[in-house]
Amino acid sequence: MNAMEKRFPTRINFRRGQVDMTHGSGGRAMAQLIEELFVKHFDNDLLRQGNDQAMFTPPQGRLVMSTDGHVVSPLFFPGGNIGSLSVHGTINDVAMSGARPLYLSAGFILEEGFPLTDLERIVVSMAEASREAGVPVVTGDTKVVERGKGDGVFITTTGVGVVPDGLDISGANARPGDAILVSGPIGDHGVAIMSSRENLAFDTSIVSDSAALHGLIAEMVAAVPDINCLRDPTRGGLAATLNEIAFQSRVGMRLNEDSIPMRPEVDAACELLGLDPLYVANEGKLVAICPAEKAAQLLAVMQGHAQGGGGAIIGEVIADDMGFVTMETGFGGTRIVDWLAGEQLPRIC
């Protein structure tokens, strides 16, 4: 029997227990939660050092860093939960620079009374997502707020990664004539979340597309190193992402509605709910912009990868001082695809 086990004579009851204020107080209860939940599941050498920070030697190259807070409601949804989402989301934000993600940190804000069984489920799924992606959670933090001051659990993850030499990927790099590609059908995550909201429950087979995309990106940048932009169309959907890039790059875009991939179930759910699927969030898709002559090659690489199987070329970058993203509609007319105004759907990620 080692010293650790003597510190905690009884194990935490994850089946019946709930979060209480002591779990964030810095005392023994917090140490036990860290030991029996976080260290146990995230298990890796850096975390096991037990320090307030993780120490590592960065590899050669440019480092990137990104952070993302997750407040999704409900916490569990078809195709994932706040835990897996918080891993995928930050890995993707790091990877959209072309970087290979290295490490993650995780900050938990827990609400007093939150069932430990739910917390364990979330941490297990985070650990699985992190292991599957090969990106360990190497440091973390836990705070507890009084009942009513939080909503179960909020998770903030931060990621660092390193960009291979020779890449120059930025939202500011789109050039007139470039092709615009998307890695698969849009709108799955937002519709999956909506279908599981209490006040809006409807039956659908749609599951969230939440996934880590760094594997796909590694193959894309290896084949076509002159990709100009990569971005994941999360909140605000495809429309918001394209408008951000058009604004950053001072260009316009012209899309073809018929070529934008979408599942019929998502299309139908959006029709029913009065939503425009272009504005609905994704958590496992990316937009890529590359020189037109490389588009076919890039598309072939994407379609050959599990995360890019439904990829398509959806439009082109054009010169336009006004930065308008326009779209030829499936009906034969033209419309603007504008920034999202207001809030289409709160707390989607």
Binding site: L200, E271, G332
Partner: protein, 381 residues
């Protein structure tokens, strides 16, 4: 999406566009008012105007439920939450409509008022059941389409004896508004607006039927074609209107026969007649006081009438100075005629109601069509 996609087919649209171009007399213009915001949205969303010849224009009417509600009614809803401490339940579009003093439901909510977005009257009823210690008010808005569900909610509350639930009724009537527009001096005397025909409402007509339009087609000698909300419906109906105009006819025709009958939905009409009565007059944003154009809750259901249950201050709030929503709602001006359009008034910072809902003309112009506008480009230079 079977049953929907077939009304959005490009090849049929092209053929219809050809038919319209051949039917439209190049020696004249055709101004078609689409009454409903649903049509406005479809026209912009699918780029229908692009498929029309230059001399066929759509004039956008007042049929957007959140657009026509005057500021004092929104002030009243805020007061119900603020001063009376009620939980006010509302449809999402209403949240950002400007009230007086730069307030809105969404700002009042941020400041602590208990205002909740619901998707149906049933959600509001459930909130009332779940919180018996609080007053729960459903902020009812909309034309004849959304009125029957409100009637059902009131009847359910009565049947359950749900004492803490009430309805702040703002339901308005379509035929009265169309008549009012046709009687307006701008149209009759000044000739500022010329309207050659109407696209009649689709969902509203599924309730009230096509018969109520017979009167003003005859009285004002304007053709009406009841049109579905899909883009092919809009184009087919435009063609039917152009043919009526060419032939000097002014009849009520029904393009939306897959849903609308002459009599409408008798069950829904009976429900409305049981739970509501006509208001002598009601203020519309843009149209002013319009006689017999809105509904109030009938005496028998007065216990569920928020206007009887709570004392509401008479607000004198007026539209923002320079806002042309009133003229735009009457079809007298276009969104681009408004000085505020695209300068201080955008969907992110709406000054007038027409910039809020995707069914409002200004929001539709801004969000879907502004790349056509030279004025915006000049302003940016």
């Amino acid at each position: 999406m079977k049953y929907v996609d077939e009304f959005r087919q490009k090849d049929i649209a092209r053929k219809l566009a050809g038919d319209i171009a051949r039917a439209a007399d190049t020696g004249r213009s055709y101004n078609i008012m689409e009454f409903c915001g649903g049509h406005t949205h479809a026209i912009f969303r699918y780029g229908v105007q692009d498929l029309m010849p230059d001399n066929v224009k759509f004039v956008h009417g007042p049929g957007c439920p959140v657009c026509v509600l005057p500021i004092p009614r929104i002030d009243a809803a805020i007061e119900l939450a603020d001063r009376h401490g009620a939980i006010v339940c509302t449809y999402g579009d209403m949240m950002r409509v400007p009230a007086s003093k730069k307030n809105s439901l969404i700002k009042a909510k941020a400041a602590g008022a208990d205002i909740r977005m619901v998707y149906s009257t049933q959600d509001a009823l459930q909130i009332a059941r779940d919180t018996p210690e609080r007053e729960v008010v459903f902020f009812a808005i909309g034309f004849e389409t959304t009125t029957p569900p409100t009637a059902v909610a009131i009847k359910v509350a009565a049947a359950e004896g749900l004492k803490n639930f009430s309805v702040f009724c703002n339901h308005v009537l379509t035929p009265a508004a169309i008549s009012h527009i046709l009687q307006s001096p701008e149209l009759r005397e000044l000739g500022q607006v010329s309207i050659d025909g109407f696209l009649g409402p689709s969902h509203v007509s599924s309730i009230i039927g096509s018969a109520p339009y017979d009167f003003f087609a005859e009285e004002f000698q304007k053709p009406v074609v009841i049109a579905g909300f899909e883009p092919l419906d809009v184009m087919q109906s435009a063609l039917m209107l152009i043919r009526q105009v060419n032939e000097g006819r002014y009849e009520v025709e029904n393009e939306y026969t897959r849903v609308v009958t002459p009599e409408g939905n008798q069950i829904a009409k009976d429900l409305m007649a049981e739970v509501f009565t006509l208001r002598r007059s009601f203020e519309w944003r843009g149209l002013g006081e319009v006689p017999y154009s809105a509904l109030k809750i009938a005496e028998a259901y007065g216990d569920w009438d928020a206007e009887k249950r709570f004392e509401i201050t008479k607000s004198t709030g007026a539209d923002v100075k320079g806002c042309e929503c009133p003229a735009i709602l009457r079809g007298v001006k276009k969104p681009t005629d408004c000085k505020l359009f695209g300068t201080v008034c955008t969907p992110d910072n709406p000054q007038g109601s027409c910039m809020v809902s995707s069914e409002g003309s200004c929001a539709a112009y801004w969000s879907f069509g502004r790349f056509r506008m030279d004025r915006v480009k000049e302003a940016a230079e």
